[in-house]
C-alpha cells in the first residue's frame, strides 16, 4: 500500500472545521498533547509501517528549509 496523497476526504470542509473546533479553548501545550493523541490514533488506524513512514517523510519535508 502507498500513502494516498490525492484527495480522499469525504467532506473536506467539514473535516477541517472539526479539526479546528477540537482545539478550541486549549492552550498551546494542551493542543500539542491533543495533536499527539490524534497522530497516535490515526497511526493505529492506518497500521502499515511503510505508509506511516511515507507520511512522516512527507510531513517532515514541510519542516526542512528548501524541502519540497
Amino acid at each position: 500500500m502507498r500513502l494516498i496523497t490525492e484527495p480522499n476526504l469525504t467532506a473536506v470542509d467539514d473535516f477541517y472545521e472539526a479539526l479546528i473546533d477540537a482545539h478550541r479553548d486549549l492552550s498551546i501545550g494542551e493542543s500539542q498533547a491533543l495533536n499527539a493523541r490524534l497522530v497516535l490514533l490515526l497511526a493505529n488506524h492506518i497500521g502499515a509501517l511503510d505508509v506511516l513512514k511515507e507520511a512522516l517523510t512527507a510531513a517532515r519535508a514541510g519542516a526542512v528549509p528548501g524541502g519540497p
Binding site: A33, A36, R37, V39, L40, L41, N44
Partner: protein, 569 residues
C-alpha cells in the same frame, strides 16, 4: 561443598588457594582460560567442562556479586541453566510473577498478565538476586573437576601471539604467568583485558540517574511488577517496584541528570523516598530495612568486534546494556553458550579455528538488537525532549481507555533470544519444501511436552544434551539411517519424535525416541512425517528438511562446524 544452614551470600567469601602454576617453569599452558567469574564466565566454564574441555577460571575477587544487580532471568537463560544442571534450583528459589501494573500520575492505567505459555517447562522469567544465580553456578562448578576456579587471581597483563596469549596474573602471593590457547574475557563492563589490548566500546550514555534500592520488608502485596510514570510521590520521574525472594523488594527511582549521586546514596535520603512510595499505596505501614542501594547512570555500548585473535569477549565486557528489559546477564549467558561448543570443537581439533569467527558474526548482531531494544525502553521511560515527552504522555493517556496504545507503553521489553538469521552456519530452507517461518534456521528450539520411551512425562528441550541433535518426525527408518551416516563427523543424537498416541503407527518400544503427547511438537515445529530438524549444541536450529538424504544432513553438519564441503545440495 554445600554449606550447612542458611548462608548469607552477600558476605560469603571463597578461599584463595595457591596453584601449582604459580612459579612453574616453564610457564603452564592451558587450552582455555576464562577471565571473570560473573554469571557469564561461570556459565562458559561449566559449559566447556560439560564438553570435556579443561578450564582455568580466574576472578580478581573472592565474593559474589555485590548487591543484587540483575534480578530478572528469562526463560532462555533458565533453559540454558537446565542443560548445565542448575536450572531447577534457580526456579525453586526464584519468584515467579506474571501480573504487571502500569500507573500514570496516581491512577492505574492498565495491567497485563504474562501468563506462562502452556506446554513449556519454564516461565517467561523469574526474579532472583544475581548473587544467588552466581552462588548456584559456583556450586555447579565445584561438581566439575575439569574446572580450576582461582579466586583472587587478577589479570593485569595480556600479550597476544599468533597461536596463544600470555596472561600476567596478580595474586596474594604475587604475580605469575599463564599461557592460554584461547582467552575468554568475561571480566565485566570495565574489562581490564579490553583495555590491555587497546580496544574500546562505543555507544551512548543516558543522561539520567537511577537510585536502585533493595529493601527488605514483610509486605502483604502480590508478586507483581508495578511501574509508575510521574507519580505524585516522586513527581516527573518514574518508579519501579519488583519482588525478589527473601522478602526483598527492588525499587528503582529515576532521579534525573542533576541529582547528586553521593547525596542520593545516603540512607537518610533513601528512606524518605521509600516511605513516600509506601504511604501512597495500600502498604502504608510496612516496616522496612535497606539491604543495598546504589546510584547508576546507564549506557548502551559495545565493542565493534568480539573476537581479537586468541582473545574473545563475552557478556558485559563486549556490550553494556541499560537494565530496562533485563538483557545484560540474559544476553551474556547466551554469548557464553554460543562460544562454549565452538571453543570445545576447535580445541579438540574437530573444527577449524575459523568457527570461532562465527561467534562474533552471530553475537554482534544479537548485541545490536539488544542495544536497540534497551535504548528504545530508555527513551520511553526518560524522554529527552519536550516532543518526546508529549508523545510519551499521549501514549499513557490513551492507554487508559484504548487497547491499541498499551503495546506502545515501553517499560522494558522482555528479553528473548536473538534469531541468528544471517549466520553462515545455517543451511537455508530448500525453496521447494516450505516450512512455517517461526522455527527457521537461526531460531532457538522451543520447548514442548513429550513422553519418554519408559512412559514418563518430560520436556523436549531436556532430551537434547550437549551435542548436535537431529529431531526426526514419524520415521524410525530414516532416524536409523541418519544416525550411522554422520558418526565420523561430530557426535550427533538422533531423536525420533512420534505422533500422539492416537496415531496408528506409534511404537514407544524403541530407545532414543519420544512421543509427542499433546501434538505440540508437531505444531510448533511444523512437522510432517519424515521432517528433520538439525539443532546445534546451543539448541539453535541450523537446518531443516521435509525428508533429507544422508548427504544433505552431512553437508549441513559440516557447514554448522565450519568445515569445507557444507554447501547445500
Amino acid at each position: 561443598m554445600r554449606p550447612h544452614g542458611p548462608v548469607d551470600f552477600q558476605t560469603r567469601t571463597y578461599d584463595y588457594i595457591r596453584s601449582p602454576d604459580q612459579g612453574a617453569e616453564p610457564t603452564a599452558r592451558h587450552p582455555v582460560v576464562v577471565v571473570g567469574a560473573g554469571p557469564v564466565g561461570l556459565t562458559l566454564a561449566i559449559d566447556l567442562a560439560q564438553h570435556q574441555v579443561p578450564v582455568v577460571l580466574l576472578d580478581k575477587d573472592d565474593t559474589l556479586s555485590t548487591g543484587s544487580r540483575a534480578i530478572c532471568f528469562a526463560k532462555r537463560t533458565l533453559e540454558i541453566f537446565d542443560r548445565l544442571g542448575c536450572g531447577e534450583r534457580m526456579v525453586a528459589k526464584g519468584v515467579s510473577w506474571s501480573v504487571g501494573k502500569v500507573f500514570f500520575r496516581d491512577e492505574q492505567i492498565f495491567s497485563f498478565n504474562l501468563l506462562p505459555k502452556a506446554g513449556q517447562q519454564r516461565p517467561a522469567f523469574i526474579n532472583l538476586q544475581q548473587y544467588y544465580v552466581e552462588a548456584y553456578l559456583v556450586e555447579r562448578v565445584a561438581e566439575l573437576p575439569l574446572i580450576d576456579l582461582r579466586w583472587k587471581n587478577e589479570v593485569i597483563g595480556v600479550v597476544r601471539h599468533a597461536d596463544h596469549a600470555v596472561l600476567t596474573v596478580q595474586t596474594p602471593d604475587g604475580p605469575y604467568q599463564l599461557r592460554a590457547d584461547y582467552v575468554a574475557a568475561c571480566d565485566g563492563s570495565r574489562s581490564a583485558i579490553r583495555e590491555l589490548i587497546g580496544q574500546q566500546t562505543s555507544g551512548r550514555v543516558f543522561q539520567d540517574r537511577f537510585l536502585i534500592a533493595d529493601v527488605k520488608m514483610k509486605l502483604d502485596h502480590p508478586a507483581e511488577r508495578w511501574f509508575w510514570f510521574d507519580p505524585s510521590f516522586h513527581p516527573h520521574q518514574s518508579v519501579l517496584l519488583h519482588k525478589q525472594p527473601d522478602d526483598v523488594w527492588r525499587i528503582d527511582f529515576q532521579l534525573g541528570w542533576d541529582a547528586n549521586p553521593d547525596e542520593e546514596k545516603k540512607p537518610e535520603n533513601i528512606i524518605p523516598r521509600v516511605q513516600a512510595l509506601l504511604a501512597n499505596s495500600t502498604m502504608k505501614d510496612a516496616q522496612f530495612e535497606l539491604e543495598w542501594a546504589s546510584v547508576y547512570t546507564f549506557a548502551c555500548s559495545r565493542m565493534e568486534r568480539f573476537r581479537h585473535g586468541r582473545v574473545i569477549f563475552a557478556g558485559d565486557s563486549a556490550h553494556a546494556l541499560s537494565p530496562f528489559g533485563a538483557r545484560g546477564a540474559n544476553s551474556g549467558v547466551q554469548d557464553a553458550e554460543n562460544l562454549a561448543w565452538k571453543l570445545a570443537l576447535v580445541v579438540s581439533n574437530q573444527a577449524p579455528d575459523a568457527l570461532l569467527d562465527t561467534y562474533g558474526e552471530e553475537r554482534e548482531p544479537a548485541a545490536g538488537e539488544n542495544i536497540r531494544n534497551s535504548t528504545r525502553s530508555t527513551d520511553f521511560i526518560t524522554p529527552k525532549s519536550e516532543v518526546s515527552r508529549t508523545f510519551r504522555d499521549a501514549v499513557l493517556e490513551l492507554s487508559r481507555h484504548h487497547a491499541f496504545a498499551r503495546p506502545l507503553v515501553n517499560t522494558g521489553r522482555l528479553s528473548v533470544p536473538a534469531i541468528l538469521d544471517d549466520s553462515p552456519l545455517n543451511t537455508p530452507d530448500a525453496p521447494d519444501a516450505p516450512f512455517d517461518p517461526c522455527m527457521r534456521p537461526g531460531a532457538v528450539a522451543v520447548d514442548a511436552p513429550v513422553t519418554l520411551a519408559d512412559g514418563k512425562d518430560d520436556w523436549l528441550l531436556r532430551q537434547f544434551g550437549d551435542q548436535f541433535t537431529a529431531l526426526v518426525y514419524g520415521d524410525d527408518d530414516l532416524a536409523e539411517r541418519l544416525q550411522v551416516a554422520v558418526e565420523d563427523l561430530v557426535p550427533l543424537r538422533v531423536l525420533s519424535v512420534r505422533a500422539p498416541p492416537r496415531g496408528a503407527t506409534v511404537r514407544t518400544d524403541l530407545p532414543g525416541s519420544v512421543c509427542d503427547r499433546e501434538g505440540l511438537v508437531a505444531e510448533r515445529y511444523d512437522f510432517l512425517p519424515g521432517s528433520v530438524y538439525l539443532l546445534r549444541p546451543d539448541q539453535h536450529v541450523c537446518a531443516r528438511w521435509r525428508r533429507p538424504s544422508v548427504e544433505a544432513l552431512r553437508r549441513a553438519l559440516k557447514r554448522a562446524i565450519g568445515l569445507p564441503g557444507g554447501d547445500p545440495l
